[in-house]
């Protein structure tokens, strides 16, 4: 297709960023808000057009005659050439996942832009200070995220990966006068940066041995790349197997190059997607404005890791080990996050941990995806869940934002029983909960069911494990729901101080997203997004997904979810001693969950005690006292010597003559030595 639209998709947010960033402070708040929102709206429309053309135009550059979706590079400009082959290009790669992500990102982003118009001002309509800055940063983020998903080569991805991190840093630290926000943003940046180190090294390894950065080459050319090119057919599992059989990958630091590369790259993904043990930044990131949390830390940026793995999926297929690592990390994280979520008080943190656990779901399903099982069902499921999760998690966050905006606090203890005050929020939140809990026919049900099916196909153990997690999810979400909306309120609200629903700018996005969450499950993802472009079904209609369900799995997971919800209802519908009982039953466990298993403390210890205390400070001391001291020492010694030998110049002629004679003798000695 013509590169015009794609270029605008990338250029418009950037332009918005520059305009609002440079001249925003001269604009009126309203103007800035409208400008930003409009810009994002246009971008969204264009993104829809692009995605639509990709999926449904059926033009030969997107889909070949036997219906396989192709990767097509719309444009690709050289940006920086390291060598003749290693060239960083800025381009626009259109394939199922990037098209999907385009839709997701622009939609959520637009919603958030719209929502923020209402959110970023208090009840008296006074604008948040730095409102324009906020929109500038939002545009910057959108630009970076879009650039990330359409990256044609891994280095472009890395570039935007960093930019995303930076914009997230700026947005988390938006309330920069709040020390907690500052430290949170710092934490987020540094942790992800650390992960990116792995990513970078992975890129270096991979690119060195393949001699290229381009994804298309990665996926069509073997890792021995430069030396002997394996023209392998990755579209069939046999092709992959043969390839692994025939190509002894070169060894790097004891392991196969490919393993190292993929594991390290996955480390980058772990950082962004907040997998254990690099998850600690995400809960703190909730210090940022809630729309930001919705956009960045629920829907888009945090799934970048999933996207990365999906993007390199063909390579991962070559390394069983790497995929297993992905699975294990994902599974553990999922369970851990769900546990923690059950005990948190701050509603945003509950959502944050649920985000972590949901992303872990995607990771797991990528990890278990195998070509031979339903054409890599896991891959599709992950993308599907990414899509649905983005929608309902954004919804939940925006609802939370509404609540916080109304109450002015993050604790459910201050909320209790808001349903009669904020009906719209109540309904939409409920929809979100049902969706994430996986209740048919809400979006979450389908995607999660696909995932569980995929896991089931791979290993029964992980299946049970993940089902449990699914149950926990349903439990803690409804716990939250009840604690916020039901339970009897402590203080009576009356008058116009009473919490009430929001202006339309905030309500509209909630409604829209709620609707999407209701229907998104029916999108026939199987025909749109698969790892090798093969459609899964011959023909699609509205009920394809229903028809495709593996009811044995589906019914079980549904049952689990319902049971969990019932438990939650029993425990939290109205104030009762049960929760306390449970807490006292396993105090240790509860403590650990409440303190998030003390990960933060551990990190504090490592950074402050070990890195600062045991490395930096000693080095600084060493520099000042040893290195510097040695230099000063030289000068000191010279001075001392000069002082010590001053006696020679005693002013007494006879001593002078003594020394003179001594010199003569010395000369004589030298002469004698040289002569004889």
């Amino acid at each position: 297709m013509e590169p015009v639209i794609p270029i605008i998709i990338l250029a418009l947010p950037l332009a918005m960023f520059l305009v609002l960033g440079l001249f925003g402070h001269k604009m009126a708040h309203r103007t800035a808000g409208i400008l930003g929102t409009l810009g994002m709206g246009v971008t969204m429309v264009l993104a829809y057009i692009t995605a639509f053309t990709y999926f449904f135009s059926g033009s030969s550059e997107f889909i070949n005659e036997e219906g396989i979706r192709l990767q097509s590079v719309i444009f690709n400009w050289d940006w920086l050439a390291f060598t003749d082959s290693l060239v960083i290009r800025l381009g626009f790669l259109l394939d199922p996942i990037s098209a999907l992500l385009l839709v997701v990102i622009t939609t959520i982003s637009f919603m958030v832009h719209l929502y923020s118009n209402g959110y970023m001002r208090d009840h008296h309509g006074v604008w948040e200070t730095g409102f324009q800055r906020f929109y500038a940063f939002l545009s910057l983020f959108s630009f970076s995220m879009l650039g990330l998903v359409v990256a044609t080569n891994i280095f472009q991805m890395y570039i935007f990966w960093e930019l995303v991190g930076a914009s997230s840093y700026l947005l988390i630290g938006f309330y920069y006068t709040k020390p907690s926000a500052v430290s949170a943003s710092k934490k987020a940046f540094i942790v992800t940066r650390f992960a990116d180190l792995g990513f970078l090294i992975g890129i270096l390894i991979l690119s060195f041995y393949t001699g290229t950065f381009d994804f298309t080459n990665f996926t069509s050319v073997g890792v021995e790349g430069m030396t002997n090119v394996y023209q392998i057919d990755l579209t069939t599992s046999e092709g992959v197997r043969n390839w692994i059989a025939t190509s002894p990958a070169p060894v790097f630091m004891g392991g196969s190059v490919l393993t190292w590369a993929l594991v390290l790259i996955f480390m980058g993904g772990m950082g962004k997607s907040a997998m254990m043990p690099l998850h600690i930044w995400l809960p703190d990131a909730m210090e940022g404005p809630t729309p930001v949390s919705a956009l960045i830390h629920a829907a888009t940026m945090v799934v970048a890791g999933v996207f990365l793995v999906a993007r390199l999926f063909p390579l991962y297929l070559m390394e069983e080990v790497a995929l297993n690592i992905v699975t294990v990390v994902g599974a553990i994280t999922a369970f851990y996050a769900a546990m923690v979520a059950c005990t948190q008080v701050d509603i945003k943190r509950v959502l944050a941990f649920s985000t972590i656990s949901q992303i872990a779901f995607m990771m797991v399903s990528l990890g278990v995806a195998r070509p031979e099982f339903h054409h890599g069902l896991g891959y599709m499921a992950a993308m599907f869940h990414l899509f649905t999760h983005a929608m309902f998690k954004a919804l939940l966050f925006l609802c939370a934002g509404a609540l916080i905006h109304a109450i002015g606090s993050n604790d459910y203890t201050d909320m209790h029983g808001l349903r009669k005050y904020m009906p719209v929020t109540h309904i939409t939140f409920l929809v979100g909960c049902l969706a994430i809990a996986g209740i048919i026919p809400f979006a979450g049900f389908f995607s999660k069911d696909e995932i569980l099916t995929a896991v089931f196909g791979q290993s029964i153990f992980w299946y049970i494990w993940m089902s449990a997690v699914a149950g926990l999810t349903a439990f803690y979400m409804f716990r939250l729901y009840y604690l916020i909306f039901w339970w009897k309120e402590h203080k009576v609200h009356e008058g116009h101080h009473a919490p009430h629903d929001q202006p339309w700018t905030m309500t509209l996005p909630l409604v829209i997203l709620a609707l999407i969450s209701c229907v998104a499950g029916f999108v026939p993802m199987g025909n749109l997004v698969t790892w090798n472009g093969h459609p899964m079904f011959e023909s699609v209609n509205f009920f394809t997904n229903l028809g495709a369900l593996d009811w044995s799995v589906a019914s079980i997971s549904l049952a689990v979810a319902i049971i969990a919800i019932l438990i939650a209802t029993v425990m939290y519908k109205k104030e009762n001693p049960l929760p306390a009982k449970m807490k006292n039953a396993l105090p240790r466990l509860w403590d650990w969950c409440y303190h998030r298993f003390y990960w933060d403390e551990l990190y504090m210890f490592i950074t402050h005690k070990i890195i600062f205390g045991c490395i930096s400070k000693p080095i600084a001391w060493f520099d000042r006292h040893v290195i510097d001291g040695s230099m000063d020492g030289m000068a000191w010694v010279t001075q001392r010597i000069s002082y010590a030998i001053r006696g020679l110049q005693s002013g007494n002629i006879q001593l002078y003559v003594w020394i003179y004679l001594f010199g003569v003798v010395l000369l004589g000695a030298i002469t004698a030595i040289c002569l004889f």
């Binding site: 050289d78 940006w79 920086l80 050439a81 390291f82 060598t83 290693l86 960083i88 280095f155 890395y158 570039i159 935007f160 960093e162 930019l163 930076a166 840093y169 630290g173 920069y176 006068t177 709040k178 020390p179 500052v182 430290s183 710092k186 940046f189 540094i190 940066r193 650390f194 180190l197 970078l200 090294i201 270096l204 390894i205 690119s207 060195f208 790097f252 630091m253 890195i611 600062f612 490395i615 930096s616 400070k617 080095i619 600084a620 520099d623 290195i627 510097d628 040695s630 230099m631 000063d632 000068a635």
Partner: protein, 501 residues
């Protein structure tokens, strides 16, 4: 002689000196300074265009715009000038920083003498970059060193006398080794019986320095330049020197002078003694590898803004030498990019620090905070500088570091790999200390109530800052132009060390 374009890089500063000598008041001094620095910038751009045009016309000589004028007949010392992409890049860098520096020191007291010394210094810098004759090169090198003493000593702050003396003596100590090795090179510059020469191009063509002599001369040469390149453990002049120097001097010194070190390292040491460069690189690789992480780590716990920046300079310049020692086209290109980028962003840093210090009268980050609210322009500038320094894409730092890493990774042996990864780690540590200082200095609540009524940047400060930010962003956004400009120099045919590697 004056038909050659390059010679004006020395002539203009000299004219400026004369101009300062006759200046009556500060306004005339400023006029001369600004006019001169603009001229220099224009000249460097002109040279750049000239160079590109010649290359486009298919001129494949190593150096272009060459000129040679006999100076000391008996010793065959010539005033020989010539430029390639690298030197042009350096010239542009220097002229930009001189420009920004003269605005940054708009309100300096006793401006006349200050600018005289400053311009004398930059005369040395420009002369060094244009000359291809070892003697003149060395002469300009030392011309650039000495004014530092008075600039720091007279206009500096803090323990200025001590720092100025230490800086001068250490740098001169380096140049002592340098002088010896240069003379040594001269006496082996040509095969037995033929005319000895100081001209580096001829020397490298003759390639008549025996390996044994290379082993003897290379370390001295490399250390000699390395001292100025702040190579561990000879970097200790840098923190004190920078901390005590006035703003413009820190800018010029960290921005340009430290680059003389790296430039000399490859232009003289490695270019003329390729064999030794290849065989002995590992020693210095260890040292520079150390200084990369060492500087970064010690920057983490500093509390004085300038110390933080000085140590980060140690780390970044260590990266430059590190890349140079990797001896392959990509890494060396990256090294030069790093020189450019570090030069610009560290100048930006020092400019901003100087401006902040001029307002708060302290550089201790524990005593400052929340400045972003009070002086947003400077605050934003500082954040941008920080982002550049921790390698944010779109700013110069990223490009340079990535080029270096990719280049260094071309070595397949364990040793190089390990050190490359160690160097990579510095990007994390950099992030740590940059964000630490940004968080403490700009964000959070206002520490000192007196800071509340500080005023934001004046127009000349804005000009100087914007100039630097724009150039940083320019390199970051269009790196390919600069890289292609530089890479030519490091083709294995020209740069024998790479050929041997």
């Amino acid at each position: 002689m004056f038909s050659n374009l390059l010679i004006y890089f020395v002539v203009i500063p000299l004219l400026m000196l004369a101009g300062f000598a006759i200046c009556k008041n500060i306004r005339q001094v400023r006029a001369v300074a600004v006019a001169g620095s603009i001229l220099l910038m224009g000249l460097s751009v002109w040279v750049l265009c000239d160079y590109l045009a010649l290359r486009a016309a298919g001129n494949m000589e190593e150096m272009l715009l060459r000129g040679e004028w006999t100076w000391f007949e008996p010793l065959n010392i010539k005033l020989a000038v010539g430029v390639d992409g690298v030197s042009i890049a350096m010239l542009i860098l220097s002229s930009i920083i001189v420009f920004a520096g003269s605005f940054a020191s708009w309100k300096i007291d006793d401006a006349r003498h200050f600018f005289m010394w400053l311009i004398l210094l930059s005369t040395g810098v420009f002369g060094f970059f244009i000359s291809i004759d070892l003697f003149t090169m060395f002469m300009f090198y030392e011309v650039a060193l000495i004014p530092m003493y008075l600039l720091i000593g007279v206009w500096g702050t803090g323990r200025k006398e001590y720092s100025a003396m230490k800086l001068t003596l250490m740098l001169m100590g380096g140049s002592a080794f340098l002088m010896l090795s240069l003379i040594g090179i001269y006496f082996h510059s040509a095969p037995e019986g033929s005319q000895l020469t100081w001209n580096i191009l001829e020397i490298s063509q003759n390639a008549s320095i025996s390996t044994g002599w290379q082993y003897f001369l290379f370390p001295m040469c490399f250390v000699g330049f390395g001292v100025l390149g702040a190579m561990f453990p000879f970097h200790t002049w840098s923190p004190d020197g920078h901390a005590c120097a006035p703003t413009a001097v820190s800018m010029l010194h960290a921005g340009v002078l430290m680059k003389l070190g790296g430039y000399g390292c490859f232009r003289v040491a490695m270019y003329l003694m390729p064999q030794a460069a290849n065989d002995l690189a590992w020693i210095f690789l260890i040292l520079t590898g150390i200084s990369v992480v060492y500087g970064a780590f010690s920057a983490c716990v500093q509390t004085d803004l300038k110390y933080i920046n000085a140590y980060s300079s140690v780390s970044h310049c260590g990266m430059v030498l590190f890349a140079i020692l990797m001896i392959n086209t990509t890494a060396l290109t990256g090294a030069i990019m790093q020189m450019l980028s570090h030069g610009l962003m560290t100048a930006l840093f020092f400019a901003l620090i100087g401006m902040i210090y001029g307002r708060t009268h302290t550089r201790d980050i524990r005593l400052m905070g929340g400045l972003m609210k009070i002086i947003p322009f400077l605050g934003v500038g500082y954040v941008i500088a920080g982002m550049a320094s921790l390698g944010l894409p779109g700013l110069s730092g990223f490009v340079a570091e990535m080029t270096i890493f990719v280049g260094s990774f071309e070595h397949t042996d364990m040793f190089h790999r390990v050190f490359t990864i160690v160097a990579c780690c510095s990007i994390v540590i950099t992030a740590v200390y940059i964000l630490r200082v940004v968080g403490k200095l700009l964000f959070g609540p206002v520490q000192d109530p007196h800071h509340a009524e500080l005023t934001d940047a004046t127009w000349w400060e804005r000009l100087s800052v914007v100039t630097l930010i724009v150039s940083v962003a320019a390199i970051g956004c269009f790196p390919n132009f600069f890289e292609s400009l530089i890479r030519f120099t490091f083709s294995p045919e020209i740069f024998h060390a790479i050929g041997l590697n």
